[in-house]
Subunit: 328 residues, 2 copies
DNA sequence: CTGAAAGCGCTAACAT
DNA sequence: ATGTTAGCGCTTTCAG
């Protein structure tokens, strides 16, 4: 692989001139420029990012932290981030933390030692203390999950309101016994969605039973299956279920398994509108988050932050998508 | 962020010595070493990857090319690649090409100009001419999709045999009218799976009708829905369908839509065993590929190749997973 | 066992 | 308009 020196020599100019041509500087004669361009073509030259990045002390890489790539909720967000990043000549590094702090640390260090220019975190399990520390000196954006009252800019939706509307939808359909399949309430989104759930029930003077609130360890399909099995064994079975993630809701749907029908026996609402949710039988009523847009905005915000601009947090609109699992 | 000079100064040694400590060189007195380590801790020093990489002309980054992150087939493979890579101090950069050549080019250039050390391609749409060119001077491994008779090492399964077994399974269940939902036969895997399909039919003297072979543009759910709708409109409807991807099979299942039942009216077999395939109703019979292992091996092979070792291609075993969509 | 110094490939300030 | 040169942070001969 040729380097800038060889091009300079081949073109009979200095490396500075080659660099100028490479960076589209104005002050180069057309003739000189063309000499350089010919040399570049001749030697099939590609400028080394390594050299350029070292010199500029930037990597044009953004890190995207997420707990696991297997939750389809993230894929559309990632698409948004990726497309926006690429349009601005950035690349993204997808970082699965598996909720392991030592992995997280690897990625934080990449930012500290200039291997990456900034981080978008979508990981609810992220160590906020470390992240805040990092954010003091490096660009950091939170996407979807955020810290209430924290100083790191975020893009998210109003989870409380969305949950409230989902549950209200169930109530309007005549359900009075509504269960919640929640994830761990150490996560803010889980607390917010529970709050929305409770607000709706209270507003309609419906009882809130601890028995009807199930907490899952993770967001996999299997956790939803498990949750629904427990709910179905209750003496007082719920007539409807709100699950805080489509993956859980789909698992819940699966657990009905011939014994019960949705929505006639049990109505179900999910959250996220992942692509699977329209492929289930019955199709799943859910809250749609503008995932793609969220990703685009997160990337935009990060790039602003990298330029040193001050960025404001953004709360996006969501939408209730009504399908067969509540309106068979 | 402190640099190596400041550490050297703080510790009262030369930068060379600091570098030796950093790289666990043997020839450093315990006392000197400890002086340096104290300085490192003191200044919270992280060696700059940028400097190190430029010097070593390596990036410890591997590129993973895939057409789209939204096909869940890839997620387990990626997990395998990622875990293996991280265990060896490499990181992976997920590269969605969206089947766009210009995107592909960005990533090829990253390898050419040392921003990445090698490529694992899982993209069936990849430009093999360019990839072969790249492979002449850089480590490249193919995963899942490969080139017959090509020179780039690959890890894959025997698609022809898997398809043969899937269709034979349908035949053994008494099906004589078996359709194929295939993707574009410009892809090798599509041609191989079709070959397996035809071999099974021929072996049992069953007819092969062009009408029963549908080609989809992509592998999204919607393409499967569309395909099945067409098949259901045929005068002579098939009694079973083999789809070359779970996403297509799940779409096909969805298209039955109350009018027909699987497996009583139409049995369906998919391919890949994505996690959602056990959540559908009915659950999906499918071919399970050892995706995680495939990913691990691809990463291992790439690292071998980066060390300059010669690597051999590998064909892994698959497995037919029988579920409700054929054995209700 | 440790230090001095060259150099990886590039950009930008300064000089011409 | 173009060239010269320092230096980004690191590793690695080569000396001592």
């Amino acid at each position: 692989m040729a380097n800038i020196q060889q091009i300079a020599k081949e073109a009979g100019v200095s490396v500075a001139t080659v660099s100028r041509v490479l960076n589209h500087a104005t002050s180069v004669t057309p003739e000189t420029r063309s000499k350089v361009e010919i040399a570049i073509k001749e030697l099939d030259y590609q400028p080394s990012m390594l050299g350029r990045n070292l010199r500029n002390s930037e990597s044009r890489l953004m890190l995207v932290l997420l707990p696991s790539i297997s939750n389809p909720f993230y894929t559309e967000i990632i698409n948004g981030i990726q497309n926006t990043a690429i349009a601005h000549n950035y690349n993204i590094l997808l970082c699965e933390t598996d909720s392991k702090p030592e992995r997280e640390n690897i990625y934080f260090n990449m930012v500290k030692n200039k291997l990456a220019d900034g981080i978008i975190s979508m990981d609810p399990t992220v160590n906020m203390k470390w992240l805040n520390e990092l954010a003091e000196n490096h660009p950091v954006i939170l996407c979807s999950e955020y810290e209430e009252g924290g100083s790191i800019p975020y893009v998210t939706i109003n989870s409380e309101l969305a949950a409230y509307q989902a549950v209200k939808h169930l109530i309007k359909l005549g359900n009075e016994k509504i269960a919640l399949i929640n994830s761990d309430e150490k996560f803010l989104y889980a607390r917010l969605r529970r709050a929305g759930y409770e607000r709706a029930l209270k507003e309609f003077n419906l009882p809130i039973y601890d028995e009807w609130i199930y907490h899952t360890k993770e967001l996999e399909f299997e956790n939803g299956v498990q949750a629904m099995r427990i709910l179905l064994q209750l003496e007082e079975k719920p007539s409807a279920v709100f699950a805080v993630s489509d993956t859980l809701a789909i698992g819940a749907l699966k657990a009905l398994n011939g014994g019960f029908e949705a929505p006639s026996d049990i109505a179900i609402v999910g959250f996220d509108n992942i692509s699977f949710s329209s492929m289930t039988n019955p199709t799943l009523t859910t809250i749609s988050q503008p995932m793609y847009k969220m990703g685009c905005l997160a990337a935009d915000m990060l790039m602003s932050s990298m330029k040193g601009e001050k960025v404001e947090s953004i709360v996006l609109d969501h939408e209730l998508i009504i399908r067969e699992s509540t309106m068979g």
